[in-house]
C-alpha cells in the first residue's frame, strides 16, 4: 500500500484535474504480469491491445507516449485518447511485444494496465452517439420549421392561404420524420413506464409531442391556419439536450470508475496440471485452478488453502488491523493479503463461499432498499402528470359545455398540454447536475449519477468505517523515542525480511546491517543472527514476555538473553482525517465511527479524531442493520467505507462514498469515489451537492411560477402557436441560465 501513498509525483498545473491520482504499479507487491491474454489477434502476425494510461494529462504527455511507443520496433500504430485515457497500440511480430510496450511506458513514467471494453460500456457509448444524432436531426428541423413558421406569423394577412398551406405541408414533411426519429428515447421510456403501471416525465412529454403533431397534421390537411410543428420539434430539441447532458455525465464517471478498476488488476501464478507455472491476470483464473501465492501478495480470488500456513492481513474483509493465522483447509477471500509465508491455494467460485455469498446477499438486500429512492424529477412527475392531464381534460370539457365547437375545445386542451410540458425539469435538472459534477471532478471526486447529488444533499449523519478509510490501514511505530538506535537498527534489520504489517512499519528504519539465518514463524515473528547474537522480533509469546499494553499493537525485540523490549504500533489516522471531521461537523453533520476492529482500538481512534459516537467489533450484518436504523430514523446517513465488510452497509445507506483504493465491491457500491486518497473531498462534495440541490429547487419553483401564469392563458385559448413556442424556449433558457450560475460561485 505504501507505494500508492508515496508516488504522488505528477506534473502540476495540468488542466485535466486528474493529476492528483498517484501512479499505481500494476501489482503493488511486485511481480511482473504477463498481459498477453489481453492481446487481440488481428491477422497473420498483426496484433493490437488497449491500455489504460495513468498520469497522462496534457499534450506533452500524449506526444511523449505516442513517440515512445512508436519507437519500439514492430509497432505500427500508437494512438492515445486523452479524453478516455486509453492507448491503442497495433504491431506486427509476436504477442509477447505487449509486455515490452508496458515496460516502455513504465520507463517513460506512466502507469499502464490492460483494458477490455465491456458490453455495458459499448452500449452506453452507442446510446450517447444516438442522442447526439437525434439532437442534430432535431436541430436541423427546428431551424427549418422555424424559418417557415416565422414567415407565416409575420406574413399575417399578406400571405395567401395557398402559400400558408404549402408552408405547413413543408413543415409537416420535416417535422414528422424528425419526431419519429428524435422522439424515440422519450417514447420508449414513457412506454415502459406505462407498461409497468406508473408514470414518469416522459409520459406527458410523449403525449404532448404526439398530440401536437397529430393535431397539426389534421389542421394542415383541413387547410386551417394554426399548426404546432415548430413547438413540437423545439420541445424535442431542448429536451434531448438535457438527456444528452445526463447520459454524458453517467458515461464520463462510469469510464473513470472502470479505469480505476482496470488499474487494480493483479497478476497470479497458476500451477498448471503439468507442474509448470504461468503468470496470468487475475481475470483469467478459473475455479479449481491451483495458485501459488508468494508472501506479500494480495489474493486475486476467493480460495482455500491446500498447503502452507501464513499470517493473512484481513482488514479489507473484516476491518481488523491485526493479521490472523490461517492453515490448510481454511477459506480465504479475495482482496486479503498473504503476509508471511508462501501458500498453495485452490481457487473457488464466488457463490460457494460462505462469507462472500453472505455479503453478496446482504448487498442485494441493500440495493433493493436503495431502488426505492425516487429521483426528484420523477417525484415531481407523480404529482405533476395527473394534475396537468386533468386540467387538460377539464379545459376540453369546459369549452364543450360553454358551447364551443369540438375543434376549439381540442385546440385549447392541447395548448395546455404543450405549454405545461416539463421542459424545465427535463433540461434544468441535468444541467445543474453536470455543472456540479464538473466542479467535483476538478477536486478529484467522481460522482456516479445525477441523483446521487439529491441524496448527498440531504445527509445529516456521516458514518465512517475505521480501518482503511479514516486510518491508513497500516501500522506506524509509536514509541520511537523510547528505543535506542541499536534496538531500532536490529529490529529493522530483521523486519526488512518480512511483509507483515508490523514489520513493514519498520522498513523505513532499515540501515546496513548483516543478519544471517533469518527465519519467519507464522503467527510468531522473526528470528535471525546478527554477528553471534540470536535476535528475535515478534509477539509476546514468541519471545516469552507478558503482554501488558492497552489499545495498541505491540511486538517485542529480544537481543540474546537480554530482557525483551516493547515496540508499540498503531494504525494511524490519515493526515486529512482530523480536518475533514472538523469541517463535516462545521457543516452541521453528526459523525459516527463503525469498526470491525476491537472495541478499545475503535474507541481510541474515535477519541483522537473527536468523534462522539463509535461502535467496535461490528459484523457486516450489524453494520447494515445500524445503517437501516439510522435511515428509518430520518438521518439520511452517508456511509464512507473501503472494505468488503462495508459494502452491505454502503448499499443500505442513503448515500455512500469510498476512497479510490477500496475493494472492488465497496467501490461499486459507492455513489462517490474520492480519488487521490484524500478524505478532504467529502466536505466539498457535500457542499456542492447542497448547492446543486438549491439550484434544482429554484428551477422547480421557476417552472411552477411559469406554469401558473401560462396555464390560465392556455385554458382560455390565448395561446397560439407563436406564444407556445416562445414560452417553451423562454422557460428553458431561464432555468438553464440559473443552472449555469453555479460555475461562477
Amino acid at each position: 500500500m505504501d507505494k500508492i501513498d508515496s508516488t504522488t509525483t505528477l506534473a502540476d498545473g495540468c488542466p485535466s484535474g486528474l493529476q492528483d491520482i498517484p501512479i499505481q504499479t500494476l501489482d503493488p507487491m511486485g511481480g511482473h504480469m504477463d498481459i498477453t491474454p489481453y492481446v487481440t489477434h488481428i491477422s497473420d502476425n498483426k496484433y493490437s491491445i488497449n491500455l489504460i494510461i495513468q498520469g497522462a494529462h496534457c499534450a506533452g504527455c500524449v506526444a511523449k507516449i505516442e513517440r515512445g511507443v512508436s519507437d519500439i520496433s514492430g509497432v505500427t500504430q500508437a494512438r492515445m485518447n486523452l479524453s478516455t485515457l486509453r492507448l491503442n497500440v497495433a504491431w506486427t511480430g509476436g504477442k509477447h511485444l505487449a509486455n515490452d510496450i508496458l515496460s516502455a511506458l513504465r520507463a517513460l513514467g506512466f502507469g499502464a494496465a490492460p483494458y477490455e471494453l465491456d458490453t455495458a460500456q459499448a452500449q452506453s457509448q452507442s446510446e450517447i452517439k444516438f442522442l447526439l444524432r437525434a439532437i442534430a436531426v432535431a436541430g436541423f428541423a427546428v431551424m427549418n420549421v422555424m424559418l417557415l413558421s416565422i414567415a407565416v406569423w409575420s406574413g399575417g394577412t399578406e400571405m395567401s392561404l395557398k402559400t400558408q398551406s404549402m408552408f405547413h405541408w413543408i413543415s409537416a414533411l420535416i417535422a414528422l420524420p424528425t419526431v419519429a426519429y428524435s422522439g424515440q428515447p422519450f417514447f420508449r421510456s414513457a412506454w415502459s413506464a406505462l407498461k409497468n403501471r406508473h408514470t414518469n416525465m416522459d409520459v406527458p412529454i410523449s403525449l404532448a409531442v404526439i398530440l401536437a403533431c397529430s393535431l397539426s397534421l389534421y389542421e394542415t390537411i383541413m387547410g386551417n391556419p394554426h399548426t404546432y410543428f415548430d413547438a413540437a420539434v423545439m420541445l424535442l430539441f431542448l429536451l434531448l439536450i438535457g438527456r444528452y447532458l445526463d447520459a454524458r455525465l453517467r458515461l464520463r464517471t462510469g469510464e473513470a470508475a472502470r479505469r480505476l478498476a482496470a488499474l487494480q488488476v493483479t497478476s497470479a501464478t497458476v500451477i498448471l496440471p503439468s507442474g509448470d507455472i504461468k503468470t496470468v491476470p487475475e481475470t483469467a483464473i478459473r475455479p479449481g485452478d491451483r495458485l501459488m501465492i508468494p508472501a506479500g501478495q494480495r489474493l486475486p480470488v476467493d480460495c482455500t488453502i491446500l498447503s502452507g500456513t501464513s499470517d493473512i492481513d484481513m482488514h479489507i474483509a473484516t476491518g481488523e488491523t491485526e493479521p490472523q493465522l490461517f492453515g490448510p483447509g481454511d477459506a480465504l477471500y479475495s482482496g486479503t493479503t498473504n503476509l508471511t509465508h508462501p501458500l498453495t491455494v485452490e481457487a473457488v467460485a464466488l457463490a460457494s463461499h460462505s462469507f462472500l455469498s453472505e455479503i453478496t446477499k446482504l448487498i442485494e438486500a441493500g440495493e433493493q432498499s436503495k431502488s426505492r429512492f425516487v429521483k426528484i424529477a420523477d417525484r415531481a412527475a407523480r404529482i405533476y402528470v395527473p394534475f396537468v392531464h386533468s386540467i387538460a381534460a377539464l379545459t376540453f370539457l369546459g369549452w364543450l359545455l360553454w358551447g364551443a365547437d369540438f375543434r376549439t375545445a381540442t385546440l385549447s386542451a392541447i395548448a395546455v398540454l404543450i405549454i405545461t410540458c416539463p421542459c424545465a425539469l427535463g433540461l434544468a435538472v441535468p444541467a445543474v447536475h453536470i455543472v456540479a459534477a464538473g466542479r467535483l471532478f476538478k477536486h478529484g471526486i467522481l460522482i456516479r449519477s445525477g441523483d446521487a447529488f439529491e441524496r448527498l444533499a440531504k445527509t445529516k449523519t456521516v458514518i465512517f468505517d475505521k480501518t482503511g478509510t479514516l486510518t491508513l490501514g497500516r501500522f506506524t511505530l509509536q514509541n520511537e523515542d523510547k528505543l535506542t538506535p541499536q534496538q531500532l537498527k536490529y529490529a529493522a534489520a530483521l523486519a526488512i525480511h518480512s511483509n507483515h504489517p508490523v514489520a513493514r512499519a519498520l522498513h523505513s528504519f532499515h540501515e546496513d546491517c548483516e543478519v544471517n539465518h533469518v527465519s519467519e514463524h507464522a503467527g510468531g515473528g522473526l528470528c535471525g543472527k546478527i554477528g553471534q547474537t540470536v535476535v528475535k522480533f515478534g509477539s509476546a509469546k514468541f519471545v516469552n514476555s507478558p503482554s501488558s499494553f492497552e489499545g495498541t499493537s505491540q511486538s517485542w525485540l529480544k537481543i540474546g538473553d537480554a530482557a525483551p523490549i516493547v515496540f508499540q504500533f498503531e494504525d494511524c489516522p490519515r493526515d486529512s482525517a482530523p480536518d475533514t471531521i472538523a469541517q463535516l461537523k462545521a457543516q452541521g453533520l453528526t459523525i459516527e465511527l463503525l469498526s470491525g476492529d476491537q472495541q478499545k482500538i475503535a474507541r481510541k481512534t474515535a477519541q483522537d479524531l473527536g468523534i462522539d459516537q463509535w461502535h467496535g467489533e461490528v459484523t457486516p450484518q450489524k453494520k447494515m442493520d445500524l445503517l437501516k436504523t439510522r435511515r428509518s430514523d430520518g438521518h439520511y446517513p452517508l456511509m464512507v467505507g473501503d472494505g468488503i465488510n462495508d459494502a452491505p452497509a454502503m448499499t443500505a445507506a442513503y448515500s455512500s462514498a469510498s476512497p479510490a483504493t477500496a475493494a472492488d465491491v465497496a467501490r461499486s457500491a459507492a455513489d462517490i469515489i474520492l480519488q487521490g486518497d484524500k478524505l478532504s473531498g467529502l466536505p466539498i462534495a457535500i457542499r456542492i451537492a447542497r448547492h446543486a440541490h438549491r439550484r434544482v429547487a429554484e428551477n422547480l419553483t421557476l417552472a411552477i411560477v411559469y406554469n401558473m401564469i401560462a396555464i390560465p392563458l392556455a385554458i382560455f385559448g390565448f395561446v397560439n402557436p407563436l406564444v407556445a413556442a416562445l414560452a417553451m424556449s423562454g422557460s428553458s433558457l431561464l432555468v438553464t441560465l440559473n443552472a449555469l450560475r453555479m460555475t461562477r460561485s
Binding site: S16, C58, A59, G60, V62, A63, R67, M80, N81, L82, S83, T84, K129, L132, R133, A136, V137, F140, M143, N144, L147, L148, T163, I170, I174
Partner: protein
C-alpha cells in the same frame, strides 16, 4: 412568389448538407477524443514539405 419554389428547396438542402456533414464527422471519430485533438496539434511532428538536399 415563384422565387420561393426554388429558394425553399435550396435552404432545406443546405440544412441537410450540414446535417450530413455532422453525421460524417461523428462517424469519422472527430468527437471521440476532443481533449486529445485539442492538444495534439501543438506537438505534431511536421515533416518538411520538400527535402532541402534534393534541390
Amino acid at each position: 412568389m415563384s422565387a420561393l419554389l426554388w429558394l425553399i428547396p435550396i435552404a432545406i438542402s443546405l440544412g441537410l448538407l450540414g446535417l450530413l456533414a455532422f453525421f460524417w464527422s461523428m462517424k469519422s471519430g472527430q468527437f471521440d477524443d476532443p481533449e486529445g485533438d485539442a492538444s495534439r496539434f501543438l506537438y505534431s511532428e511536421d515533416k518538411p514539405i520538400f527535402n532541402e538536399n534534393d534541390r
